[in-house]
Symmetry: C2
DNA sequence: CCAGAATATGTCGGATATGACATAAAATGC
DNA sequence: GCATTTTATGTCATATCCGACATATTCTGG
């Protein structure tokens, strides 16, 4: 995912307007990162909306609580595939998916 | 991606109405597969619209022609991340991404 | 037809993502 | 305040994905 840099800067107190403002991220890479961040936020929203804990969601997607935590914190080791699977497993409707994407796409 | 089954059946002459009609694919898995198929189709469309060969696109995304071919043929070894990267590299606009998704989402 | 371009398929070693576990840190509510 | 639940972080062996290469197949114009 290569959000490592972004995450570190966030942790250091930066507030990024858009994820692509940092050196070393091409437009394409930046677009992908922003897409992921938007979906990651949606995962947490949808999960909570359905009253699920991370452990609950983990079971639904045959994964583990720690991985769900990594998904939601934007860990660099998390793929777009996994994010989308989490979204579906959390019970996101197609409309919710579209809505999440509309913030970035 | 686990489209292997789907692909084999397609090759064998089956015409799937929706990708999830096959046994062994949960709703969640089916949704992901359909999402990927929609985006994969968009990659080819956008690439051709911009007059790019697979080799051209491969260069743009620092990949190889064979991998682009695998993307567009829905090879099971291709991640959603790679599909989206291909889409951006092919020059897809955000609107085109949304449009591609609207067929499934 | 055929030559050249484009696309597809098979394979492989190295790179990255994964679930799982342990454990720490925060949040919750009583 | 404390016990319990929830969430975060670090690590690891394994699974999966990756670019690259070789080669086959299909497409296109002459």
């Amino acid at each position: 995912m290569n959000t490592g840099k972004l995450k570190r800067l966030r942790a250091a107190g930066w507030k990024a307007g858009s994820a692509g403002e940092f050196l070393g991220l091409s437009d394409q890479e930046a677009a992908l990162v922003e897409l992921k961040l938007a979906l990651v936020a949606a995962v947490r929203e949808v999960r909570r909306k359905h009253g699920l804990s991370q452990t609950d969601l983990a079971q639904r997607m045959h994964s583990s609580q720690s991985r769900v935590a990594k998904i939601e914190t934007g860990d660099q080791s998390v793929s777009l595939d996994l994010i989308v699977r989490a979204l579906f497993a959390a019970g996101a409707t197609r409309r919710e998916l579209q809505r999440a994407l509309s913030t970035v796409a």
